[in-house]
Structures are given as structure tokens and as C-alpha cells.
């Protein structure tokens, strides 16, 4: 489904080259839920941004659904993201001026769905995330957890094959974290491929597989046995 080969990212900040990702190889199967862990500055955000085309790679290859995508232009990536990639960010990034409903319908409209279909899909999603009554609220009126649920609804609006989540629970308290993780679990059970960046071991425990980064390189890549996922919030000892 998603494959990265010898992926390198070098930032040339103020003249000094910084190697954020150094020759990384990664293969993710369809339907997999992968958590990418690592300390601050290990390159995990950079990696997920490159995988979604938000940040261009310096060298290396990215393949999505059997097609090479790292050579796409910025616009090419944008078109690809509309249909195939959904993003969830740590800061939620809801468009502040738009209502919850508009935020969720926006990607569907962008992908060419009719306004009626977009509305129906939005109603379904918000219903599922128990946000129906907040449809006409503005993002500023919502709590952090609610905002992240809306962001998740927005990312899922086009039923993307790949959901990329960058620290989705980083700004949330434990109750909201639990809610969001429960939703991610449901999405995953629906067959969606999810790649999630986190530095929280409890959050990572929800995934099928945990990839650990350190200084831009993979230092560990291991699967978590399925049965161990009894519930989110449980402390899991990761070797």
C-alpha cells in the first residue's frame, strides 16, 4: 500500500544542513495501523509529512498503491490527497471562520461530491462521532476533544485509503485522548490504513505495529500481538 525507500530529508536551515530523516525504508500493508514513535527531533513528523506530500523529500522514493508519488508536483500531491489521504494534526487545524459542518463538508466538496451527498456524509460522520448537535457551532466554541473529533471527521470525509495522524492526542487530556483513540480504533476496524505519529506509549499501544525512530533512522519495528489490545489507557510494556 505505502512504501518508502531510502527516504532522506535534509533541512538547510540557516546554511547548516540538518539531517531529519536519513535513508529510511518502510513498507506498510493495506489495513495496517502503524504508530511511529520517537523522542522530539527524531524526524517522525517530517516522515509523516513526507508520506502525505506536505513536505518534499530530499531523495528517495515513496510509492502509494503501486504508483511512485515522490516525483509528483505540489499540485499533483494536492490532487492525490483529495481522494486518498486524510490528515489529522496535533493542533486540530479547523478553519476558524467556518462552521463544524462546513469544515467537514469541505474535503468532500473539493473532491467533486455533490453538495447533497457531502451533507449526507457529514451528517453520518458527525452522528457517529456524537457531534450532530454541534454542526452549526464554530470551532472556537468546541472543546479540544470535540475539535479533534471534528478534524477526524473531516479527514474521513472522502473515505481516504490512508489516514495520516500527527500527534492527534498531543493537546488532549486523558479522557479526550481515550475518545479519539476509540474512534481511530473503529476506523481501523473498518479496514482503513492508519499511520499515526505519537510519543505516548499508551497511544502507540493501540496500533498493530510500532516503528521507533531515533535521529532520522528506524531503530525498532515491531508488531504488537492483536490480542494484547484489550483497551486504550492500559500501560503496555514495549520491550
Amino acid at each position: 500500500m505505502l512504501k518508502a525507500h531510502n527516504l532522506v530529508k535534509i533541512y538547510a536551515a540557516s546554511g547548516v544542513p540538518v539531517h531529519a530523516v536519513r535513508g529510511l525504508d518502510l513498507e506498510i500493508e493495506a489495513g495496517e495501523f502503524v504508530a511511529i514513535m520517537g523522542p522530539s527531533g527524531s524526524g517522525k513528523s517530517t516522515l509523516i509529512h513526507m508520506l502525505g506530500g506536505l513536505d518534499p523529500r530530499t531523495s528517495g522514493e515513496i510509492w502509494l498503491d503501486g504508483k511512485r508519488v515522490d516525483t509528483l508536483s505540489e499540485s499533483g500531491w494536492a490532487l492525490l490527497r483529495r481522494k486518498k489521504v486524510g490528515f489529522v494534526f496535533q493542533g486540530f487545524n479547523l478553519v476558524a471562520n467556518m462552521t463544524v459542518a462546513d469544515n467537514v463538508e469541505l474535503p468532500a466538496l473539493l473532491a467533486g461530491t455533490s453538495p447533497r451527498e457531502a451533507r449526507e456524509r457529514r451528517e453520518q460522520l458527525l452522528d457517529k462521532l456524537s457531534l450532530s448537535d454541534r454542526a452549526e457551532a464554530s470551532p472556537g466554541q468546541l472543546s479540544g476533544g470535540e475539535q479533534q473529533r471534528v478534524a477526524l471527521a473531516r479527514a474521513l470525509a472522502n473515505r481516504p485509503a490512508l489516514l495520516l495522524a500527527d500527534e492527534p492526542t498531543g493537546n488532549l487530556d486523558s479522557r479526550n485522548t481515550r475518545d479519539v483513540l476509540r474512534l481511530l480504533g473503529e476506523v481501523h476496524r473498518g479496514g482503513q490504513t492508519i499511520v499515526m505519529v505519537t510519543h505516548d506509549a499508551r497511544v502507540a499501544a493501540l496500533a498493530d505495529r510500532v516503528v521507533s525512530l531515533l535521529d532520522g533512522e528506524i531503530v525498532d519495528d515491531g508488531r504488537i500481538p492483536r490480542r494484547k489490545i484489550a483497551g486504550a489507557g492500559e500501560v503496555i510494556d514495549l520491550r
Partner: protein, 764 residues
């Protein structure tokens, strides 16, 4: 299509979030466009009433006034002459009307309307032999004198008899300019009626109009006419008539066009500022849009559409207003569609160019919404550190630093305020110049407030009455004659007034006043017309005899486009100057012209004919509301720029607020910091704009004076007190506007959580 739907949602949501600013932008652009279009309409020839009047009346190109009846057949045989009108006998009369005594020419026309120069009856009907006491009055004269259909028309002839006619019709004519710019007023009567009212033929003149096959041949033909005819009193052509009709419209049009063009630049700048500020404030939202799948081009297009739409809406409203305003307010004809389209298209291009750059920058936003969009970090300059060392209030120092954190927006804000302020100063200068005309008429060549003609009295009686009047400082005898200029197919006015030894107090702008016979001073219009300069001699012909005058100076001359030569009465031959045609009365300081006039009238038992001199500022009164409206629009533009700057400043410094509070600044000090940051740019912009405006206004008005013939030397900068008040008003209004959001921001409870939501602190 799909993108359009998504984009529309985003645009409408964003516009809803900033209704006030959007409305301000639309209003400012609309106001500027209306001014621009009105200016162009007034400048455009199509709106000059002369063209349609000339067409409707099948007008004559050349008008000749002679003392004797000319042989019209000889004139018609001249090369280039197609047909002729007249000759009509014309007698000077004075209309007795509500205490005013306007001069009029009583012209004998047949009951059958002529083919050429046919007056166009607008109300009532044309002359008929069944109504021998009927008269038809030219429309502008009727309006100025308050004459309606059926009103009695009491006329005093030169001989002193009083006759009453009745207004049977009101008609338009292209024979002469509008009253009161063009005097005398025009009244048509049947030739038999004219003979009854003024039987003496020596007191009248003959007026002949020539219609040419080709209007461009006017110059050549009128020179031939001068050669053919003797006893020519006066010749004028369609060009003078056209110029007279467009006089005020041109000045107003120039003013509006100047304000419109500069205002458009200012509005475009305001729009670019607003769009740029908005884009900076929305970098995160734009990045989010890109992460959702908007391409770079689509984001840029979306921004152009949003901000451009505001500008285009303003342009639309402005064009509509500019189309209607000249018709409603000034009675000018509607603008031709071509200039409207050209102005609209040009303004649309300017608007799109103005929003294009910020939109392009917005499109280039990296698609990572978490990317920091914080302002470039400045550091305390040496000056600022010194300021802190000498214990200036910290709010002042920090505000000063903040003001210039973003150099380009800071410059654009100051510049965006300076341009409207410059134009406001220029507007105030025009206002001050008009005030100057009114307060010091002697500076525009109008030392005399009253013109007295002897009327029924003898010269001696009149002079005695004037001498007894306590309000009169001095009386200058004068005569006005028409002179033919060599090589010019038209007459110019020679005003002989005062003696060469005791010259009339003209405001001499260049050279000196006349001091001996044979010397004269001229208005700029005359110098330009004859192509002469100070020191040159001109040779003119007055009533057949030559008049040679050395021009020794240029005076400010508001009459007849400045095409007036002024000499001492003793420069004219005795036949033209004795007795003098009138007395120009210079009043004592403080004497009221109206009272002096009434006293003279009652002392002479209404025998004297006393007229007040019309100040050019009274004619230009329409400029004042126009200036006020323009200042309002410019203030809107300034306000739009200010709001952008405040919004950007608050956004940039939101993260600093918590830090400042943590450092121990009180909310009041935080407010002061924010207000100082905006206020400094305001002060810089306002002061620069005012200085530039004050420095250029005199030159601009003089330039306009030069081209209109009045001559340089009329421009007045606004008074220092006015400028100080304006600057203070602008700055304090700006500070008041800045204070409200600053206070709100300073009192808001800023938490770190909100900080991370509102302004990302960096990438994780």
C-alpha cells in the same frame, strides 16, 4: 467546478467573519470610482452641453457684431461659408428685477424661426406677431434672473425709457455661453417690438452668424471677415462659446480626476494591505486548505477571487454612482459608455494587480499547517536599549520595537495612510484657496466690490454721489472695450481702468503694474493666446483705430479665462474712454458692499445702476461639498489601512502578550505597547502625507490656474492651524480606533493552551 464550490464556502465564511472590513473596502473603492468617473464625465467633451446645443440649433460657427448692418451676401460668398443667420439688430437693455439690474441684449428675430442658429424653445412658444409684447428669454439667463413663463419683463433702455414685455417662451441657444459667465443675457423679441422699444439705431448693433462647411476653417474665415467688414465691434467663434460652457465643469473635473487617480492608487494600496494582512493572518488556514487538497494555484485564485470580488463590487457600485451623480447633481449629460468601460476595466486591473501579489504569496504557503507563522524576531536596537536605560516607559520602547518588526507591512501602513492624508491636505488647500478668494478678493483682481454705471444720471451727478458715500475708499473710472488681436480671429477684452498715474490696485503676479500711458498688464490667458511675454508690445485694433500696448506685468485675472488686457484709461483714445463706462468702487475695510449699494441706490433714487462684483469662489461653491465628500472617502481608505495594521499587529504580538504579562507589565502597559506600535506608524504616515500635501498643494493649484488662464499665484496652502487640527484629529481618531482592540487583547486571559491553538509555537 468542485473546487469552486469548496472555495465559495471558504470565501463566504471568511467574508462573514470580517463584514465591517469588507464593507469598508467596498465603500472606499466605490467612492473613488465614483469620483474618477464623475471627473472623467466632466472632462469628457461629450458632456459639454455645447455639442448637443450646437447640433440641435444648427448653430453658427462665427458670430460678428458690427455697428452697421453688414452686407450678408458678401459674407456668404466667402470661401468656406455655407449659410448665415441674421443680421439681427440688437440693443442693450437693463432688466429691472428684484433690485438687481442684469444687463441683457434685446435681439430682433423674425416670427419664423431661422434655419441657422435656431433657438430651441424649451418652454412656452416662440415669438408670434399676435403677441407683440412677447419675448423669449435664453434659458440660463431666465434661470439666473428667476424669470418664468408669463412673468413681466421690465426693461430700461440706454435712452432711459422703461418698457414692459412678457415672457412667452424660454429657449436654448448655442450662440453664446451661459449667463452669468457670459454677459449680457439674451432676450429675443420681434424686430417690430425692438423698433418700438429702442427706436434709435445708433444705440444698437448688428449681429450676424456664419455657419461654415468645415468647423476647422473658422480661423481662416474669421480673418477674411475682418478684412471684408469695417466697423467690427466683436468677433467670436464656437470655440469661445464651447470653452465658456465647460469652464466650471473642467475645473471640477480636473479636481475629481486628480483625486480619483491618486485615490485609486491609495485604494489599491489599502486593498493590497488588507489582502496581505489577511493572508498573513490566515497562513495556518491556508496551509490546512492545502493539506486537504487545494493546489497552490487554487489557493491563489481563491484569494484573488475573495479580495478581488470586494474591489470589483466596489467598482460596480462606484461606476453606477459615477454614472448617475453628474446627471443628478450637476445637470451634465450622462457619460459615454466607452470611458465608463475603460475606467471600469482599468480600475479592475489595478484591483486585481493589488490583490494578486498577496494572493500569490498565500498560494505559496507550505501545506504544513503547523509551520510557524510568527513574525520575524526583531531585537532591541541600541536606541531601544538606550531608551530603556534612561527609563523611558517600557510600553513606549516595546511599542516602538513592535512597530517596525515587519518592515514591509510597516512601510505599507505608513504609506497607505500618507497618501490619503496628502490628498486630504490638498483638498483643504483648495478649500483655503476658495476662502482666500472670498476673504481677500483683491488678491484675485477684485479690489472693487461694486461696479457703478451712471444709468439715468449724468456723469457729474454720479461722481458726486459716489464721492459723498462714506463707505467708498476710492473710485476708479473704467471702460471695457473689445479689441481685435492681430492674426487672431477673435476679440479680446481690453479693460481700461484708473489712470496710469493712479493705477487700479491689480494683484501683479509677475513684472510690475502699469505706470504710464501705453503700458498694460495681462492675464495668463491673454499671454498664452497671443503668445507674448512680459516686456513684449502688442498691437490691437479698437473700433478701427490701433492700440499699441507694452505688457509690463501679469496679473491674476479670473474673468474670461484670463484673456483680458488691463490698461490705464488714458491709454485708450478719448472716443473710447470719455465718458467712462463705469466706476469701480473700492470700499473701505469693513464696509458692507450690500449696504453701500443700497445707500447709493436710494441716494440716486434708483437712478444709478450699482452691481456687486461676482466672486469666482461663489461660482465654484459646488467644489466645497465635493471636497468634503472626497475627504470622507479618503478617510475611509485610511481607516481600512489602519484596521489592517491593527489586525496584523495584534496577530503578530498575541504570543508576546502572555510573555509581557509574565514579565510584570500591567494590562494598561500592554495596551499602551500595542497602541504605541500602531500609533507610531500612524504618526509617521499622517505627518509625511500632510507635509507632502502642504508642499505640493500651492503648486498644483497654480498649475491649474495657469492652464485655466487665471494664472499662477492663486494657490493657498491650508492654514497652519487647520493642518495642526487635521493632523491631531487624524492621529487621535486612529489611536481611538486602535485602543479598543488593544484593550480587549490586553485584558483577555491568555493561557498557554490558547497560545498553542492560536499561534503555533513551532513544529513538534
Amino acid at each position: 467546478m468542485s473546487t469552486a464550490r469548496a472555495a465559495t464556502r471558504w470565501i463566504s465564511a471568511d467574508l462573514r467573519a470580517r463584514k465591517g472590513q469588507a464593507a469598508l473596502t467596498v465603500l472606499a473603492v466605490a467612492g473613488i470610482l465614483a469620483a474618477l468617473l464623475t471627473g472623467a464625465t466632466l472632462l469628457e467633451e461629450g458632456t459639454n452641453p455645447w455639442r448637443s446645443l450646437f447640433g440641435q440649433t444648427n448653430g453658427a460657427h462665427i458670430w460678428i457684431h458690427t455697428t452697421e448692418r453688414p452686407d450678408v451676401w458678401r459674407l456668404r460668398e466667402l470661401d468656406g461659408v455655407a449659410t448665415s443667420a441674421g443680421p439681427y439688430r440688437s440693443a442693450p437693455v437693463t432688466l429691472v428685477q428684484d433690485g438687481k439690474r442684469p444687463q441683457a441684449a434685446l435681439r430682433g428675430l423674425p416670427a419664423q424661426l431661422p434655419e441657422v442658429a435656431r433657438p430651441q424653445v424649451q418652454e412656452g412658444r416662440w415669438l408670434s406677431s399676435e403677441q407683440p409684447d412677447g419675448a423669449v428669454v435664453e434659458r440660463s439667463f431666465a434661470r439666473a434672473s428667476g424669470l418664468r413663463l408669463g412673468a413681466p419683463l421690465t426693461l430700461n433702455t440706454v435712452g432711459g425709457s422703461r418698457q414692459v414685455l412678457y415672457v412667452r417662451g424660454i429657449a436654448d441657444s448655442a450662440e453664446q455661453g451661459f449667463y452669468p459667465e457670459w454677459t449680457p443675457g439674451l432676450i429675443w423679441v420681434l424686430p417690430s417690438t425692438l423698433d418700438r422699444i429702442e427706436p434709435k439705431h445708433e444705440l444698437s448693433e448688428w449681429v450676424t452668424g456664419l455657419r461654415l462647411a468645415d468647423a476647422d476653417a473658422t480661423q481662416v474665415v474669421s480673418q477674411r471677415v475682418l478684412v471684408e467688414l469695417r466697423q467690427v465691434e466683436r468677433v467670436y467663434t464656437w470655440r469661445e462659446v464651447r470653452a465658456a460652457m465647460e469652464l466650471d465643469n473642467r475645473l471640477l473635473g480636473t479636481l475629481l480626476a486628480l483625486f480619483g487617480v491618486v485615490g485609486l492608487v491609495a485604494a489599491a494600496l489599502a486593498l493590497a494591505n488588507a489582502a496581505g494582512g489577511r493572508v498573513l493572518g490566515q497562513l495556518r488556514d491556508l496551509a490546512t486548505l492545502k493539506s486537504l487538497g487545494f493546489t497552490r494555484g487554487q489557493v491563489a485564485l481563491l484569494l484573488v477571487a475573495e479580495h478581488g470580488a470586494l474591489g470589483l463590487l466596489g467598482i460596480g457600485i462606484g461606476l453606477a454612482a459615477g454614472w448617475v451623480l453628474p446627471v443628478v447633481l450637476l445637470g451634465a449629460g450622462a457619460a459615454a459608455p466607452l470611458p465608463v468601460l475603460a475606467i471600469g476595466a482599468g480600475a479592475a486591473l489595478v484591483v486585481l494587480a493589488a490583490v494578486g501579489l498577496p494572493a500569490w504569496r498565500g498560494g505559496r504557503t507550505p501545506p504544513i499547517p503547523a509551520a510557524p507563522a510568527a513574525p520575524p524576531r526583531g531585537h532591541l536596537s541600541r536606541l531601544a536599549r538606550l531608551a530603556l536605560l534612561v527609563r523611558l516607559p517600557p510600553a513606549l520602547v516595546l511599542g516602538t520595537r513592535d512597530a517596525f518588526t515587519r518592515r514591509v507591512p510597516a512601510f505599507l501602513t505608513a504609506f497607505g495612510l500618507a497618501v490619503p492624508m496628502m490628498m486630504i491636505t490638498i483638498g483643504l488647500g483648495v478649500w483655503a484657496t476658495l476662502d482666500g478668494f472670498l476673504k481677500n478678493p483683491e488678491q484675485v483682481g477684485q479690489s472693487a466690490a461694486l461696479i457703478v454705471k451712471t444709468g439715468k444720471l449724468t456723469q457729474g451727478q454720479a461722481e458726486e454721489l459716489i464721492a459723498r458715500e462714506p463707505g467708498v475708499e476710492r473710485s476708479y473710472p473704467g471702460s471695457t472695450v473689445n479689441a481685435l488681436a492681430p492674426g487672431e480671429a477673435r476679440s479680446v477684452q481690453v479693460r481700461a481702468i484708473g489712470g496710469s498715474r493712479e493705477p487700479y490696485p491689480y494683484p501683479v503676479a509677475e513684472g510690475r503694474g502699469y505706470s504710464q500711458p501705453g503700458e498694460g498688464v495681462a492675464g495668463q490667458g491673454l499671454l498664452d493666446l497671443l503668445g507674448v511675454k512680459i516686456g513684449d508690445r502688442v498691437r490691437l485694433t479698437v473700433g478701427g483705430s490701433p492700440l499699441i500696448v507694452r505688457i509690463v506685468g501679469r496679473v491674476v485675472e479670473p474673468d474670461l479665462d484670463g484673456q483680458v488686457l488691463s490698461v490705464g484709461l488714458d491709454t485708450l483714445e478719448a472716443k473710447d474712454s470719455v465718458p467712462p463706462g463705469y466706476h469701480a468702487l473700492v470700499l473701505k475695510p469693513g464696509a458692507d458692499p450690500g449696504e453701500v449699494r443700497l445707500r447709493l441706490l436710494s441716494a440716486s433714487q434708483e437712478g444709478l445702476d450699482v452691481q456687486r462684483v461676482v466672486n469666482p469662489a461663489e461660482r465654484l461653491g459646488v467644489l466645497r461639498p465635493v471636497i468634503a465628500a472626497l475627504i470622507a472617502v479618503l478617510a475611509l481608505i485610511g481607516l481600512a489601512n489602519l484596521l489592517t495594521a491593527i489586525g496584523l499587529g495584534l496577530r503578530d504580538h498575541a504570543s508576546d502578550l502572555a510573555v509581557l504579562k509574565a514579565m510584570g507589565l500591567t494590562p494598561r502597559q500592554v495596551t499602551a505597547t500595542l497602541v504605541t506600535a500602531t500609533g507610531l506608524l500612524v504618526v509617521a504616515g499622517v505627518l509625511t502625507g500632510t507635509a507632502v500635501g502642504a508642499a505640493t498643494v500651492t503648486g498644483l493649484i497654480d498649475l491649474q490656474g495657469h492652464t485655466s488662464g487665471v494664472g499662477a499665484g492663486i494657490g493657498r496652502p491650508p492654514a497652519a492651524a487647520t493642518l495642526v487640527v487635521t493632523v491631531l484629529a487624524a492621529v487621535s481618531a486612529a489611536l481611538a480606533v486602535a485602543l479598543i482592540p488593544a484593550r480587549r487583547a490586553a485584558r483577555a486571559h491568555v493561557t498557554t493552551a490558547r497560545l498553542t491553538h492560536g499561534v503555533p509555537s513551532g513544529r513538534s
